[in-house]
Symmetry: C2
Subunit: 427 residues, 2 copies
Amino acid sequence: MASRKSSKPRPRNALYAQSGGVTAVINASALGVIEACRRHRDRIGHLYAGRDGIVGALTEDLIDIGREDPAAIRALRHTPAGSFGSARYKLKDLERDRAKYERLIEVFRAHDIGYFFYNGGNDSMDTALKLSQLGEQLGHSVACIGIPKTVDNDLPLTDCCPGFGSVAKYVAVSTLEASLDVASMARTSTKVFILEVMGRHAGWIAAAGGLAGRKAGDPPHIILFPEIAFDRERFLARVRETVEQRGFCVIVASEGARDADGQFLSDMGTRDAFGHVQLGGVAPTLAAMIKDALGYKYHWALADYLQRSARHIASRVDVEQAYAVGRAAVELALAGKNAVMPVIVRKSSKPYRWKIGSVSIAAVANREKMVPRNYITADGFGITAACRRYLEPLIGGEDYPPFKSGIPVYAKLSNARVRRKLQAFVI
Amino acid sequence: MASRKSSKPRPRNALYAQSGGVTAVINASALGVIEACRRHRDRIGHLYAGRDGIVGALTEDLIDIGREDPAAIRALRHTPAGSFGSARYKLKDLERDRAKYERLIEVFRAHDIGYFFYNGGNDSMDTALKLSQLGEQLGHSVACIGIPKTVDNDLPLTDCCPGFGSVAKYVAVSTLEASLDVASMARTSTKVFILEVMGRHAGWIAAAGGLAGRKAGDPPHIILFPEIAFDRERFLARVRETVEQRGFCVIVASEGARDADGQFLSDMGTRDAFGHVQLGGVAPTLAAMIKDALGYKYHWALADYLQRSARHIASRVDVEQAYAVGRAAVELALAGKNAVMPVIVRKSSKPYRWKIGSVSIAAVANREKMVPRNYITADGFGITAACRRYLEPLIGGEDYPPFKSGIPVYAKLSNARVRRKLQAFVI
């Protein structure tokens, strides 16, 4: 009986892209986007993904998510890394990279992309902002919504970044476990253990190592933050004091640790017995320093990609937040917003309660949030109670993937390509 | 009504000691010993542990396990590393270290130790064997029972070694997760990823990385075993071929990888841009080699102690076997055996079924079990179906520890000291 409403907006298509270093939960954000789009088929037509992120968007290499096996899509919730492919590919400013921005708008127009969901960090938010502006200028309006993602936890205006909670949990658990190992053998074996973790600019991941200790004197005994200038003599004195008092010393070192001149420890190198420079990361540099000055037997570990892909020990809170920001991005777009990013808003720490808010992308782009000084102990080697109050809820809860034959069953997508409509574009 | 049987043997005390590198499940073996001793209070009086293993036994620094909080004891099942302390302390042969062996017998006599349970690898079995022989000679009979433990899986005559299954699971899971990470970013970022794992002599742990791949072409693309002579040209050709075909290459390298002359890659060093020797482990050596010859962007991880302490991702089969060999050691002692070691006997692979057997320690001591050639593919870079059939059951099942505030709750023992009866002994 009811007549069709002619005022109803015609459905437009959506494009989702993953950007930058991947995480254990970025695919949970993808799932949030996918499921929210499906709930609004009247407003959103096809949902595509850029193969390898923005690179796929530029080269019109788009994935038709709608053709994917529904079970594989559901498995995105517990699958680490970027199942549609991600990219380290930064677009410069509009003047220098105008051809690329215009190409993106051309691709958007060709595929009637009315919604662009960009899942990344600071750089990606900058790109999303420029695209929303340029689309407007070129007469192809597109809602560009950022979805926060970074293990570094350095985005401003959000309580935390999806991806961080899981790497934080991995680092806390690994520090605890390795510390038990070192403690049990220190009398006749290794005295100093160093775990090098990610975080070139901000020390959030290193700080998470501090969650391994529950009371004073518990390992880790030393945390090295990029935010605190490294002082060789103070560091060595603390290592010696710790080994003498406790029998061993556990150190969590950020890859971004640097001295007062801003020189990274990882770039310093050390000299071997022949006076040759030995290059390497922060951990081997510290280990050689300790060996030379104090003579202690050491071991060190470099978690590298293991830390950010460790979905098997993901934080449940992190998984839930990653999903929630993906879903919220779609809802913001449908509410008519543009150039915004959903964020996590903390309502209380004990018990931990949070909700989704949103901020303008312009306020996020290209800004970094460091570990504040009051989160670091006065001596610069540990985390304060305030830091613990902030961090602890973010690693809360477990969310194990299903296992088969001893290993997790992760999603394998077919990633079918959308038919091309444009000329090739060489990037 | 029944009269007391005067023929009943008087209870004697037992000593348990952990030895060598610790594992995620050695404490489960300790629990097996403890619970079995408790079931036989009529035969076994006090159960002590050597603080820091044999070092505690030598210095008469004994822990009274009976005074421990029962909840803490139960938690040993899910607590990694050596909760009583372990030691890298090898006793030499009877001639050279006779004073130490005699001291051990003196401590055993002073505390009426009639049962010695020594939880370790090849070296430890040798010590247990000598102690059983010397005790006999010196008129203090003691049942010396070995309990197998080593992440290296290199003990002969047992299907596997408790401790190995969990490190194998960790390495398989980590390889799988890091491979997804690399795969999702290879187009614009890292092309080659190397995970360096333990196993100085035998390549069992490296082999376990192969479980990450379910079908041909899946990562890891290259495994480097100590058993296969490293050939630089063949290796580089395979890396190049893999990157060209698949877009990226994942390598699992044993720390024991070596060339045809037996020189360890970790000792080779590489040269930096200034021609200076760069020392380091296998992974950085391989990375530098690849960078120089092929120019690919690389990343590498060194799991180090993280791999052997990762109780959070332990194999359930491994936990069960570790517990079972601990319990069986006590039962063997009570059955009048001496100088034996319980072993795992595989009854079938699919479905996996196993039972406990026992072997003479003399047959185990100082022997190593390498990965057999038919477990390694013809090209030397992968594992065969036979190897997979052997390995896969060993990583079967999960056995998560309890968590609180985001991290596992591991046992903390009070480790109360037994009153000393002897003069001090300096080691």
